[in-house]
């Protein structure tokens, strides 16, 4: 169980990125976080990842407070961030340096098989397309079998077709992995949020806080033509609209 308690982040320039945020995510759940730019989504994710220090509050996994990057947390960034001096397979096995070479290679090959890129194992990152590179980044994050996988707008730089393909692929990987990790996906794409998440968190800025939570009880795999998909999407749009959100806040 990932829990966030009374989390706040104030940057040195005075920006109040996150203010007193509480959130609990049950193991194996997929949670999408949406909200306007500057609402603190990415700051929240970076604090959970241990890349930023919280000004106050605490992030816990199974009741244990985290004080920095943790091996139970994997991160997929907006850009693939593959290390250009390593081959694809070496990139995937980057976080497994503590394992014997054979096991490291075996797990990297397995992860590449999972993302459908076994044939690119010895390629350089520069030889990959954007979608392939992001799949390698997903494999790198999953290979160490994290309990929590954080994804910060992972498909935003890709074209619509590749994005849809990777969303489907991510869910397949998630379903196929031994222990389905908790996934927290920050996204601007409402379709992506509805397609992926069990639960959608809507955030609002100044300071960044949760204004609504929306359960998504649609069968998987999801697609836009599916009954109920558009209804969830419309509710999200309404929540993200400032005036509607104000009304929601008042009624809460």
């Amino acid at each position: 169980m990932l829990s966030i308690e009374n989390l706040s982040k104030v940057y040195q320039n005075g920006t109040h990125a996150v203010g007193g945020l509480d959130l609990s995510v049950e193991p194996g759940a997929i949670v999408a976080i949406v909200g306007a730019s500057g609402c603190g989504k990415s700051s929240l994710l970076r604090i959970i990842a241990g890349l930023e220090l919280a000004s106050s509050g605490v992030v816990k996994i199974d009741g244990i407070p985290l004080d920095g990057p943790h091996d139970r947390i994997g991160v997929v960034f907006q850009e693939p961030r593959l290390l250009p001096w390593l081959t694809v397979k070496q990139n995937v096995g980057f976080g497994l340096a503590h394992l014997p070479r054979e096991e490291r290679l075996y797990r990297a090959e397995l992860a590449l098989l999972l993302v459908g890129l076994s044939n690119k194992a010895n390629a350089w990152p520069r030889e990959l397309s954007g979608g392939q590179a992001q799949r390698v980044a997903i494999a790198r994050a999953l290979v160490s079998r994290p309990d929590v996988l954080l994804l910060d707008e992972p498909f935003s730089a890709l074209d619509a077709f590749t994005r849809a393909d990777l969303q489907r692929h991510l869910l397949e990987i998630w379903r196929g992995s031994e222990s389905q990790p908790t996934m927290i996906v920050v996204t601007h794409d409402l379709d992506e949020a509805v397609a992926l998440a069990d639960r959608i968190i809507v955030m609002r800025p100044d300071p960044g806080r949760i204004i609504a939570e929306l359960p998504v009880n649609l069968a998987r795999p999801r697609h836009r033509a599916q009954p109920g998909f558009d209804a969830v999407r419309h509710r999200l749009v309404a929540l993200l609209d400032r005036r509607s959100a104000d009304a929601a806040l008042r009624s809460a």
Binding site: P69, G74, V75, E79, F94, G95, A97, W124, R126
Partner: protein
């Protein structure tokens, strides 16, 4: 109508020519010897001008005389002896300069606090012309090897220092975060992220340092040397032997280019992952060559 047809045909010819050119890999595939056309032409013109009596060739001897001089110096064993002495000085000075420049550059690149203390002084010292060090080094270290090697190492130090410091400072934060997310220790972060990330810029710094090493060795060998290519230059000037001066200059050029090429060849395997314009063009040219073959 005829104009249109001829235009079309001309365009076809042009396209065919450029396709052939592209298939041949463009200018990149033209043999290296093409680079020799200009200097050889100039040498030939000068040779003919002297032969025709348009110039005496006294102050700038024709290529035939320079080749004879090179042959004579080589035959006497002088050229190889002087060249090896100079090469040894450059290599030792380069090694010391690289070691000092890398350590200092790494420290200032990594620590802003130390950089604030150290860097202004180093930058001020960098602005001092090489020749200005000569009297001081002679006073401190005498006129033998130590002063010469110190001067060369000084020349190599600055570009390596600056290159290393800048390279470390400009490592992409996003790449460092990949290391942080994987909880790398400080030594692992340096070995697995920082070093590979700075390698391309570091190699460039090494090449600049080596180039300066070759420049500084001349100044060093003007400090009362009795061996070395710099000595050949001074000897040629004092005894009025311009052919010997040009022969020494040519040897400098050849050795400088040779050592740089060796440095590039040694470091190339470490940088084969780079996504450079030149590299892509080279790969395309290689693919074209295979296709043509």
């Amino acid at each position: 109508m005829t104009d249109i047809l001829s235009d079309t045909e001309a365009r076809k010819h042009r396209d065919a020519r450029s396709a052939l050119f592209e298939r041949a890999g463009g200018l990149r595939n033209v043999p290296l010897a093409v680079g020799l056309i200009l200097p050889l032409s100039l040498a030939l013109v000068w040779e003919l001008a002297v032969a025709a009596g348009l110039s005496s060739g006294r102050l700038l001897p024709p290529p035939s005389v320079i080749i004879q001089t090179l042959g004579a110096l080589w035959g006497q064993g002088d050229l190889s002896g002087h060249a090896l002495t100079t090469l040894w000085r450059v290599l030792v000075g380069f090694g010391l300069g690289v070691a000092a420049g890398t350590i200092a550059g790494a420290i200032t690149g990594y620590s802003r606090g130390i950089a604030r203390v150290l860097d202004p002084t180093v930058q001020a010292l960098r602005a001092i012309p090489s020749i200005a060090w000569v009297p001081l080094f002679i006073l401190w270290f005498g006129i033998f090897e130590l002063s010469k090697i110190t001067l060369i190492a000084t020349g190599v130090f600055f570009p390596v220092y600056l290159g290393t410091m800048d390279a470390i400072r400009s490592v992409d934060r996003k790449v460092v975060e990949v290391g942080l997310v994987h909880r790398l220790s400080s030594p692992a972060m340096i070995g697995r992220i920082m070093l590979p990330a700075i390698l391309p810029a570091y190699v460039t710094a090494l090449r600049s340092g080596l180039g300066l090493g070759w420049m500084f060795v001349v100044a060093a060998e003007f400090m009362g040397a009795s061996r070395g290519l710099g000595y050949l230059l001074i000897d040629g000037q004092q005894l009025g032997k311009p052919a010997q001066i040009v022969a020494a200059i040519i040897t400098f050029a050849v050795l400088g280019k040779l050592t740089d090429s060796i440095l590039v060849a040694v470091t190339r395997p470490l940088l084969r992952w780079e996504d450079r314009f030149g590299q892509r063009a080279d790969s395309r040219a290689a693919a074209n060559r295979q296709e043509v073959a």
